[in-house]
């Protein structure tokens, strides 16, 4: 394989997670944190970064150990690796940002059972070189963070009239409280998916029309 093709392939592994195979919007994985901690943008960002750390570290480690882990016990081995890194980030956040740690609560610990992370180990990291596994993990977790952040921004603006804690509309704004309550999470993600469906359908229609006129 030539050098150029290598770079192109590597870029593809990174980019696919951002949009085409976005874990939340397309694959609908990792829903629990995507809805539970996105009542403000800062919580969403913290969750995204914590997940990114765990996913990247465990992908690299699983990829390095991919020939050493026996097939029969691989899931257990992945879970132990993931749980180790989650413990690390849990104690790290508790020590350096106690406020955010308190806000996110048990959801930091629940990163262990985020199906996105286990899914990437099983379907990618265990079959590829560490460098590719790193790119895949970085892309997927960036896509995850972007999705969380966009849900968090929408919910915070509508639900408390602020963004990253800064008030946007002044005192006269009547916050749409339901958006920061649990139903708001379901609604926001539901309507975002609806919007993407609409966009994709429109684009497909347009492409079909263009193809037709060219014929």
């Amino acid at each position: 394989m030539s050098e150029e093709a290598n770079i192109e392939e590597a870029g593809k592994e990174f980019l696919k997670g951002l949009w085409k195979e976005n874990p939340v919007f397309v694959a609908v994985l990792g829903m629990c944190p995507a809805l539970a901690v996105t009542n403000s943008a800062i919580n969403a960002l913290a969750m995204g970064v914590a997940t990114m750390f765990v996913l990247i570290c465990s992908s690299i480690l699983v990829s390095l150990l991919r020939n050493a882990i026996p097939k029969q016990v691989r899931i257990t081995a992945y879970i132990v690796i993931i749980a180790t890194f989650v413990s690390v980030i849990d104690f790290f956040l508790a020590a350096f940002t106690p406020e955010i740690h308190k806000e996110l609560g048990a959801f930091i610990a629940l990163i262990v059972v985020n199906c996105l992370i286990l899914g990437r180990q099983e379907s990618f990291a265990s079959k590829n070189r560490p460098f590719l596994a790193f790119l895949d993990a970085a892309g997927m977790s960036s896509g995850f963070t972007i999705a969380l952040l966009s849900i968090g921004i929408i919910r915070e603006i509508l639900g408390s009239g602020s963004l990253f804690g800064f008030s946007l509309f002044g005192a006269s704004f009547e916050p749409w409280v339901v958006m920061i309550l649990p139903p708001g999470g379901f609604f926001t993600l539901g309507f975002l998916l609806l919007f993407f469906n609409w966009y994709i359908q429109r684009r497909n229609k347009r492409n079909a029309l263009i193809a037709k006129s060219e014929v």
Binding site: M31, C32, V80, A83, G105, A106, L181, L193, L194, N197
Partner: protein, 192 residues
Amino acid sequence: MNELIWIFISALLVNNFTLSLFLGLCPFLGVTQKLETAFRLGLANIFVMVITALASYALNTWVLIYAPYLRLISFIIVIASSVQFVEMAIKKLSPELFKALGIFLPLITTNCAILGLALFSTNKGYGFVEGLVYALGAGGGVTLALVLLASVREETRLSNIPKLIEGTALNLIIAGIISMAFMGFAGLFGSH
């Protein structure tokens, strides 16, 4: 006794695991096409939750007071192995029940509601009986949410729905409305 009823109702309705804590959403959206399977999955959930409550109580009392930093790892391993054990036991004792539960039993290991239950009941400092009641309430709540969504989805299949909204978007919006109804329980028993 009153305390126990509070814990049960709180886990069942007010702080429903699926609808207000967002735990166990994967099966909630994934296996609610049919009422029958949704109900069975709910029962399997209750079963595993009760076992997890027992196991996490044992771990907390005998192991984790010496090594609190091992909490996460030991919980997940105990949950995974107890699900495996339950699976083998059911297979041996009642093949019919095993067949009925099917793939759902092993999948429960990676269900965040189970680990969530262990973590929350540890954080709240529940003892043996309280933990057991909490597990029953939480499992009942998950079952309730699964049955509710499955019933609505069975109805939607008969109606004329725009193609655009079909699928996950529709399910999420339905879930949002059910969750809104559950918000009505907030404030029951004060701040409990």
